[in-house]
């Protein structure tokens, strides 16, 4: 067991080493520490505010216990969502695997340590978004100490089952790795397959029950209950934990916990049994099986031809993103998948309800959809979707120690910065088009409104691309031994989220200030505002191009 703990520590250190260094309390990092404290307080405050509003509403109609189900369900969903993106990378694509295999370690030790790393990584976020609302419940309902103990136990237990389930799906797919003749293509297809299976599952599950929100709190409660009931059918531990948290009787709570722990242990035993059978085979297959596909094709004359440097450079960036499964899954695909997933869930939800679409159209027919407020809501949604595009924020870090290449070639750094952010801008535009398509399907906006929205959202996308590149230049993560460390375990990834929050706040402010303004004038004002900031940031990038590259050594 000691080896498992040591191994877990080492995995955690290699994964989060950059964070450790940055969390040290040197004089230089005091500012950073303040920043993290601010962020935790900010998001914590936001969660408290949201929980308070929802809870007071529920308490008013004596349905506060629904809140417990909602939060546990949310933790559950978050665990699944995070595992989709991290499981295949942590289990198979970390570079340290090659050094690990020759060591005298038993398969179960590696599996346990990897699973521990996944769970610990999940708990960081889950504690923040899970414990705070539950504590709010405790405070507002005047619960005793017993509730808080139950609460912590529940938050620890909920994510285990989904993580184990996703891992098993991943391991099953990856066990075919050694049969493949083309390792690269297999890694890519396997990653996509995992996503498709899980995204498909979540869409079909959401389609089974109505989940479109209504204005009525009571109806919302019924719906939330419906969703929880459905999930409970698949994952009984959720049911026991809800029961345990809601009850005031110690006996029932203890039995609930025992049942949950028993099921979790059983699931763990099954997981370890299956994992020991298939994990290492898949791991070895992924590392050495089939090898890389060798091409004997003659070089085409065209391949020698020269092209403009910007095309060549942007092409190189795209190839690096598309051919690397980790970068593809973490940096690029969320831009397409998250809007599609949302569209799928909403579409399935609307269609599952009797006359759902007709009701929605009727409701929207009574609203003025071509308004500044609706336009800002759409821009806000776009901000939410585009914050998952991690191309610019990792543009320098993705190159690792080879980022110095930028500094010794005879191409101005500013030009290279622009080439590096172009893929981010392109993916932003893809997300914007998907979101606007979705908005058009529901809202039937005039074409001129759509075009104006496209322009304003693109300007915001360019601003995001420049700002995120500047952050990556100022805080690059160049010494990594796993792509995963750059694309997931990288504190910089919080910045797209912060920018999205700030932008959403600006949009909310704009709606409050210019509520009844003509939609086009409002959007033009927003466009000009963001364009001015974008131009200023671009100037900053150009003027400080050498200084910004100082950390690339």
């Amino acid at each position: 067991m000691n080896k498992v703990i040591e191994l877990t520590k080492i995995f955690l250190k290699t994964s989060f080493s950059n964070m450790d260094a940055k969390m040290g309390v040197s004089t230089k990092s005091k500012g950073k520490l303040l920043l993290y404290a601010f962020l935790v307080l900010y998001f914590g405050g936001l969660i408290i505010l949201l929980s308070y509003n929802l809870l007071t509403g529920l308490i008013a109609i004596h349905q506060e216990t629904v809140f417990i189900g909602m939060i546990l369900f949310m933790i559950f969903g978050l665990a699944i969502f995070q595992s989709i993106f991290s499981s295949i990378n942590i289990l198979y694509f970390t570079k340290d695997t090659e050094y690990l295999l020759p060591l005298p370690l038993k398969p179960y030790q590696i599996i346990l340590a990897r699973t521990n790393v996944m769970l610990i990584a999940e708990y960081v976020l889950i504690f923040l978004v899970g414990l705070i609302p539950l504590a709010m419940y405790g405070i507002l309902t005047g619960a005793g100490v017993f509730f808080y103990i139950k609460m912590v136990l529940a938050v620890i237990l909920v994510p285990i089952l989904p993580v184990l389930l996703i891992n098993i799906i991943v391991m099953a797919i990856m066990s075919f790795a050694r049969l493949t003749k083309n390792r690269n293509r297999f890694q890519l297809i396997a990653s996509l397959l995992v996503l498709v299976i899980i995204v498909g599952l979540s869409i079909s599950m959401s389609g089974m029950k109505e989940d479109i929100s209504n204005e009525e709190m009571a109806q919302m409660v019924v719906q939330a209950n419906g969703m929880i009931e459905l999930i409970k059918g698949y994952f009984p531990t959720l049911d026991f934990l809800i029961e345990t948290l809601v009850t005031n009787e110690i006996g029932i709570a203890i039995i609930g916990f025992l049942k949950t722990i028993l099921i979790t242990i059983l699931a763990f035993v099954i997981y370890m049994f299956i994992a020991q059978k298939i994990y290492l085979k898949g791991l070895v297959g992924n590392l050495f099986g089939g090898g890389y596909k060798k091409s004997n094709k003659q070089i085409n004359q065209k391949e020698y031809s020269n092209s403009k440097l910007y095309k060549s450079y942007v092409g190189k960036e795209f190839k690096n993103l598309l051919r690397n499964p980790v970068f593809l899954m973490q940096c690029l695909l969320p831009a397409i998948l998250i809007p599609i997933l949302m569209v799928g869930i909403i579409y399935a939800g609307i269609n599952s309800e009797d006359n759902g679409m007709a009701e929605l159209t009727k409701m929207l027919g009574q609203m003025q959809t071509n308004s500044f407020m609706i336009a800002c809501v759409i821009l806000g949604i776009i901000q939410f979707f585009t914050m998952f595009i991690y191309i610019s924020i990792t543009a320098i870090s993705r190159d690792g120690e080879n980022a110095v290449f930028m500094k010794y070639i005879p191409v101005p750094l500013y030009n290279q910065y622009i080439y590096k952010i172009i893929p981010n801008i392109i993916m932003n535009i893809v997300t914007i088009i998907i979101t606007l398509g979705m908005a058009q399907y529901i809202l039937h906006l005039p074409i001129i409104t759509l075009i104006t929205l496209l322009i304003v959202a693109t300007i915001m996308g360019v601003l995001q691309s420049i700002l995120m590149l500047i952050i990556d230049l100022k805080r690059p993560k160049l010494n990594w031994d796993s792509e995963y460390a750059v694309a997931k375990q990288n504190l910089n990834l919080i910045f797209p989220m912060i920018l999205a929050m700030v932008n959403i706040m600006v949009l909310v402010g704009a709606v409050a200030l210019l509520e009844n303004i003509n939609v086009y004038i409002g959007l033009i004002i927003l466009g000009i505002l963001f364009a001015i900031i974008t131009i200023a940031m671009n100037k900053y990038l150009n003027k400080n191009q050498d200084k910004l590259a100082e950390k690339i050594i």
């Binding site: 690269n184 090898g291 890389y292 596909k293 060798k294 091409s295 004997n296 094709k297 003659q298 070089i299 004359q301 391949e303 020698y304 031809s305 020269n306 092209s307 403009k308 440097l309 060549s312 450079y313 092409g315 190189k316 190839k319 690096n320 051919r323 690397n324 120690e401 080879n402 110095v404 290449f405 500094k407 010794y408 070639i409 005879p410 191409v411 101005p412 050498d546 100082e550 690339i552 050594i553």
Partner: protein, 240 residues
């Protein structure tokens, strides 16, 4: 020609990692840069190539200052870094055409250059494969090909022999000789003293940021008045 003039560099205030370095590498010369670990070899190479800023002094590459005219200076050299693990997801041919685009290699020359270099290094048949599938030595070779595509007048290499098999190492040394014979400059750092002894026209030894010796192997022997191997002389110089 590479001229290093009164160059100093500090990473920590008050402690110079490179202290008033002066060096001139002439055209047609193979120059070996030697020194123990942490002596300042890589820092010097990073300053020559523009990766690191120079605190004091200047470096000229064919008369162009890396400080004042960095783009012009960078056009005058080809650089082979110590780690060849770069652009692993690109195919060999994609990497070389990308480098040709970066260094403006004319269309009519690039096919001939790419084929010539890769056939010489026996990696031509691998060009349609991703660099990731190459062995360490093959990766080193493709990076060397990339650096030589534009026929740079100055060729700078950081620890180039690491990981090369005897045949590739021999080929590389031959290429360095050819490069110098055509009137161009070769500047490389190495730990392998035998290579320096047999290949270099002159060597420079750096220790604790200071240049402690510059000259030919014979001059070194004369200076220390003894018939010893370069290894022994090197240890003597760097232990002083």
């Amino acid at each position: 020609m590479i001229e290093i003039k009164n160059v100093s560099k500090s990473y920590v205030k008050g402690k110079k990692s490179i202290d008033n370095l002066n060096l001139e590498i002439k055209n047609g010369e193979i120059f070996g840069f030697l020194g123990p670990n942490g002596a300042g070899k890589t820092t010097t190479i990073r300053m020559i190539t523009g990766i690191l800023n120079i605190d004091e002094g200047d470096i000229l590459i064919d008369g162009k200052s890396i400080k004042e005219e960095p783009l012009e200076a960078k056009k005058n050299f080809g650089f082979v870094p110590d780690s060849p693990d770069m652009f692993l997801k690109l195919k060999g041919i994609e990497y070389l055409t990308f480098m040709a685009d970066v260094y403006d290699v004319p269309q009519n020359k690039r096919k001939e250059k790419i084929e010539g270099l890769t056939k010489k290094f026996e990696i031509y048949d691998e060009l349609n494969n991703e660099i990731q599938s190459y062995s360490h030595g093959m990766r080193q070779k493709i990076v060397i090909c990339g650096a030589l595509l534009s026929e740079p007048k100055n060729w700078i290499l950081d620890e180039p022999m690491t990981g090369l098999d005897p045949k590739s190492s021999y080929d590389l040394k031959e290429m360095m000789r050819e490069h110098a014979k055509s009137g161009k400059t070769v500047f490389f750092s190495t730990h392998i003293l035998e290579v320096a002894e047999k290949l270099c026209d002159r060597v420079g030894i750096i220790n604790k940021g200071k240049l402690v010796f510059v000259g030919t192997f014979d001059e070194m022997k004369q200076k220390f008045k003894e018939e010893a191997s370069l290894e022994k002389l090197f240890l003597e110089i760097t232990e002083e």
